[in-house]
C-alpha cells in the first residue's frame, strides 16, 4: 500500500514483523503491541529503528514507558467512521511523542486534514486516488477554530489566535 508522507507518496523503509517472525538483527521494524510487551528486552537493543502498531482501544498511559524508544507508532482505523485514533493520536502528542505517527486501515482523502491536525504524519492509503486528490483534500480548510490543532508547517490559520493578535 502506498505511503503518504510530507505531502507526497513516499517509499516505506519500515518492515512489519508479525508475531510469529523472529526479530531481525538490523533494519527499521515495527511490531504489534503484544510483541513489544513480550520481547521488550530484545527489542530494546535492536540496532535499527523501532515502531509499534497499537489497537485504537489502547490507553495512552500504557505506551508511556516505551515512547522514548519508538520512532513509529501506527494507529488503525478499522472503519473510517471509527474516530478513536484521533483522540489517541492527540494524547500521544500531548504525552510528548514527536516521531512519526502513521494512520492505517480505512484512510480516505476526506479524513486526511483532520488526521494531520491531530498529529498524524504519515498515512498508509489505498491506490485508488492519485496524489492530487490527497493533496487537495488536506488543504480545503485553511482556517480552523480549535486552539492547538494546527500542525507545524501547514498554512493553516488558528482563528482565535489570529483574532487576538489583531486586536
Amino acid at each position: 500500500m502506498p505511503i503518504i508522507k510530507d505531502g507526497a507518496f513516499a517509499p516505506d523503509p519500515w518492515v512489519a514483523i508479525t508475531d510469529d517472525q523472529p526479530i531481525p538483527a538490523t533494519g527499521d521494524i515495527w511490531v504489534s503491541l503484544a510483541r513489544l510487551d513480550s520481547d521488550w528486552g530484545t527489542l530494546c537493543s535492536h540496532a535499527g529503528e523501532l515502531g509499534v502498531e497499537v489497537p485504537n482501544t489502547t490507553k495512552a498511559e500504557k505506551l508511556k514507558p516505551y515512547l522514548g524508544k519508538l520512532s513509529l507508532i501506527l494507529l488503525p482505523f478499522p472503519a473510517y467512521t471509527d474516530g478513536r485514533a484521533y483522540s489517541l493520536a492527540r494524547l500521544l502528542r500531548e504525552e510528548g511523542y514527536i516521531h512519526d505517527l502513521r494512520a492505517r486501515g480505512n484512510v480516505l482523502p476526506d479524513q486526511l486534514q483532520f488526521m494531520k491536525q491531530v498529529g498524524f504524519t504519515s498515512f498508509e492509503v489505498t491506490d485508488r486516488f492519485p496524489a492530487e486528490v490527497w493533496t487537495k483534500a488536506a488543504q480545503h480548510i485553511s482556517a480552523v477554530y480549535q486552539e492547538g490543532y494546527t500542525e507545524p508547517h501547514a498554512a493553516r490559520t488558528a482563528i482565535w489566535e489570529a483574532r487576538r493578535a489583531r486586536s
Partner: protein, 552 residues
C-alpha cells in the same frame, strides 16, 4: 446578533467548496455512497423517503430578516415553496437535489449561514432558550457561549467521528426552556456570590430508545474553563463510548454503564492531565463575541401602553392571543411575541416561503431585526414594543400565523414521521392534525391549560415524545401503524421521562384516546391551577388507564 468576520466567511466559503468537490466526486463515481454518506451527513444532507433533505443550521435559533428571506428564497428556488422548522431550532427542506446542494450552501454562506454538522456523528448545532436575551427571568444571555461552542465544535478535527451524534443545549435562565437535562451535554448558567458566571455541566441526558435524564458532573464550572472542560468530556466519550451497537453509542449509555462517579472521575482525570492551557484565549474570544450580543437600543417606554390596552378591549381575539402567545420581556414596554406554526389541522413547524417573508419583515420593522426559532417548532419575535403588538398581530393573522395556542393542546410537537422520513415506522403529522382539529376550540384548550403533546414517528424520538406531558410514539405492527401513549414526561426543570400507559392505538383511535385522557384530567383535577402534569403526578396513571382501557 453575531456577525461573521473575515475568518468566519473564509471558513464557511472553504467548507462550501469542499462540499462542492465531495458532491462532484460522488456524482462522478469516485466516491461510493458508503464513503459519501458520512460526508454529506456532516453537511446536513440526508436521503429521505422522497428526495434528499437538507437541514440548515440556525445556531442557537437566532436569525435576522435577511437570513429568513434567504430561507424563503431557497424554499422557492430549490424546494417546493416551504420549509420545516425542527425541534433542534433548525430548518429542513424536503425536496432537495444533490446537484443543487453546493449552490444552496453558497447562497446560505452569503447571509452567514451554513449546514455544517446538522447531522452526522459529530457535535451538532447548539440549541438554547428561544427567549434568550429577552426573557424577564434570565441571568444573562447564553448565546455568546452558544456561539463560542459553535465555533469550537465546527470541524473539530478530533471530534468529528464520534461514536454517535452529540447535542449540546445551553440556558441562561433558572427556568429551563432549553431542555438541558435531556441533552448529551446541558449547560445551565449560575451566578456566584460575586456575580461571576459559571456553568452547571449536565451530561448523559437524551431521548431515543433508552431515555435518560442527565447527571450533573460540575455544579459551577468557571466560564473561562468551559471549552477546555468540554474537550475533556468529548475525549473520554470519543475513546470509550460504545461503538459496537448504534443504539448504545450515545454518551448517556457510557455515563450509565460507568456510573456517574466513575464517568466523572475519568473526565476529571483527563481534565487534570491536560490543564486548561490558554483559557485567556477563550476569554478573549468570548468577550469579542459578547459585544455582538449587546442589548438592542430599547426606547424608554411607560409601563402602560394606551394603544395596546384599547386594542385589547376592542378585539377579543387579540386579547386572547396576547394572553396565550405573548410573554414578559425584561425591558419595560416590550414583549416577546411567540408565533405559532401550529394552525388548526396544520403541519407542525411548516412555514411557506411567503410566511417566512412576512416574519422577516415584521422582525425588521418591530423586533430589532431579530427572529428566533423555538424547539417547540414555533417562531419568536423577541423584542416587540407593546405599542406595536396589535399591528404585528393583524399582520400575522393575515397570513395564518396568529393561532393563539402556545403551550396549549394545539401546540403539538411532531417530527416529520413516515410522510417524509426514511427511518419512520409510522406517520406523525396526521396524528398531530387530528388532535389539533379535535381541540380546535381555543376556549377548550384554555380550560385544559398548559399541555405538551409530543409525537415521534419512530423510536429515535425527534418529536421528543418521552418528555411530552402526553407523548405519542408511532410504531409498526405487521404493516399497520399504531401508537403508544406515554404520560408524565417533561423537558423542563422537573425533567422526567414519561411512562407507557398500556397497549397502543390505531391511527384513528388516537384523538379519542387523548380526549379521554384529558376529560379524565378535567374531572379529577383539584382546580384549574393544577395542570395536567401536576395532576398526573399526584394521582398516577391509574385513573387514565381505567378511562382508556376499561372496555378493552
Amino acid at each position: 446578533m453575531y456577525r461573521y468576520d473575515e475568518f468566519d466567511h473564509r471558513f464557511v466559503a472553504e467548507r462550501v467548496s469542499q462540499f462542492r468537490d465531495q458532491a462532484a466526486r460522488r456524482l462522478s463515481g469516485e466516491l461510493t455512497e458508503e464513503e459519501f454518506r458520512p460526508l454529506r451527513l456532516m453537511n446536513g444532507l440526508y436521503l429521505q423517503l422522497h428526495a434528499y433533505m437538507l437541514r440548515v443550521a440556525i445556531p442557537y435559533g437566532t436569525l435576522n430578516g435577511k437570513q429568513m428571506d434567504r430561507l424563503a428564497y431557497i424554499a422557492e428556488k430549490y424546494d417546493r415553496g416551504y420549509g420545516h422548522f425542527t425541534t433542534r431550532q433548525n430548518i429542513q427542506y424536503n425536496w432537495i437535489k444533490l446537484e443543487d446542494t453546493a449552490e444552496i450552501l453558497e447562497k446560505l454562506a452569503e447571509v452567514e449561514m451554513h449546514a455544517i454538522q446538522t447531522s452526522g456523528n459529530c457535535i451538532r448545532n447548539v440549541t438554547t432558550d428561544q427567549w434568550a436575551g429577552a426573557a424577564a427571568d434570565e441571568l444573562a444571555d447564553p448565546r455568546p457561549v452558544g456561539e463560542l461552542l459553535r465555533q469550537w465544535s465546527s470541524l473539530h478535527p478530533e471530534f468529528s467521528y464520534l461514536p454517535r451524534k452529540f447535542k449540546i443545549a445551553v440556558t441562561g435562565s433558572p427556568h429551563d426552556r432549553a431542555a438541558v437535562r435531556v441533552h448529551d451535554i446541558g449547560l445551565r448558567m449560575h451566578l456566584n456570590d460575586k456575580g461571576e458566571r459559571g456553568w452547571e455541566v449536565i451530561v448523559g441526558g437524551g431521548l431515543g430508545r433508552t431515555p435518560f435524564v442527565g447527571v450533573t458532573v460540575r455544579d459551577f464550572l468557571p466560564e473561562a474553563e468551559l471549552r477546555a472542560y468540554l474537550e475533556a468530556i468529548m475525549r473520554v466519550y470519543n475513546l470509550y463510548g460504545r461503538r459496537d451497537n448504534k443504539y448504545k453509542a450515545r454518551v448517556k449509555i457510557l455515563v450509565h454503564e460507568l456510573g456517574k462517579e466513575e464517568f466523572q472521575r475519568q473526565v476529571e482525570a483527563e481534565y487534570a492531565r491536560k490543564p486548561a492551557t490558554n483559557v485567556e484565549l477563550d476569554v478573549a474570544e468570548l468577550q469579542r463575541i459578547e459585544t455582538y450580543f449587546a442589548a438592542p437600543a430599547y426606547e424608554e417606554l411607560p409601563k402602560f401602553s394606551t394603544g395596546f390596552e384599547n386594542a385589547r378591549i376592542q378585539d377579543k381575539e387579540f386579547a386572547q392571543w396576547v394572553k396565550v402567545n405573548v410573554a414578559h420581556h425584561k425591558q419595560q414596554g416590550y414583549a416577546i411575541v411567540n408565533i405559532s406554526l401550529k394552525p388548526e389541522g396544520g403541519i407542525p413547524g411548516d412555514a411557506t416561503a411567503e410566511q417566512m417573508r412576512v416574519v422577516a419583515d415584521l422582525g425588521r420593522r418591530f423586533s430589532f431585526d431579530e427572529i428566533r426559532v423555538s424547539h417547540a417548532q414555533n417562531l419568536v419575535l423577541p423584542h416587540v414594543k407593546r405599542d406595536d403588538l396589535y399591528t404585528v398581530y393583524i399582520a400575522l393573522k393575515a397570513h395564518n400565523l396568529a393561532s393563539g395556542n402556545i403551550g396549549l393542546a394545539g401546540d403539538i410537537i411532531a417530527c416529520p414521521g413516515l410522510d417524509y422520513c426514511a427511518l419512520a415506522t409510522a406517520r406523525s403529522i396526521p396524528i398531530a392534525q387530528g388532535i389539533s382539529r379535535r381541540f380546535a376550540d381555543v376556549k377548550r384548550q384554555e380550560e385544559i391549560g398548559p399541555l405538551k403533546i409530543n409525537i415521534s414517528g419512530c423510536i429515535n424520538a425527534c418529536g421528543h415524545h418521552h418528555v411530552g406531558h402526553i407523548g405519542i410514539l408511532g410504531l409498526d405492527k405487521k404493516g399497520e401503524e399504531y401508537y403508544q401513549i406515554t404520560l408524565g414526561g417533561s423537558s423542563s426543570d422537573d425533567a422526567a421521562i414519561g411512562s407507557i400507559l398500556g397497549p397502543g392505538f390505531a391511527a384513528d383511535e388516537v384523538a379519542d384516546a387523548i380526549e379521554k385522557i384529558l376529560d379524565t384530567y378535567l374531572g379529577l383535577r383539584t382546580g384549574p391551577e393544577e395542570t395536567f402534569l401536576l395532576a398526573y403526578r399526584r394521582v398516577g396513571e391509574k385513573p387514565f388507564k381505567e378511562a382508556l382501557y376499561a372496555n378493552h
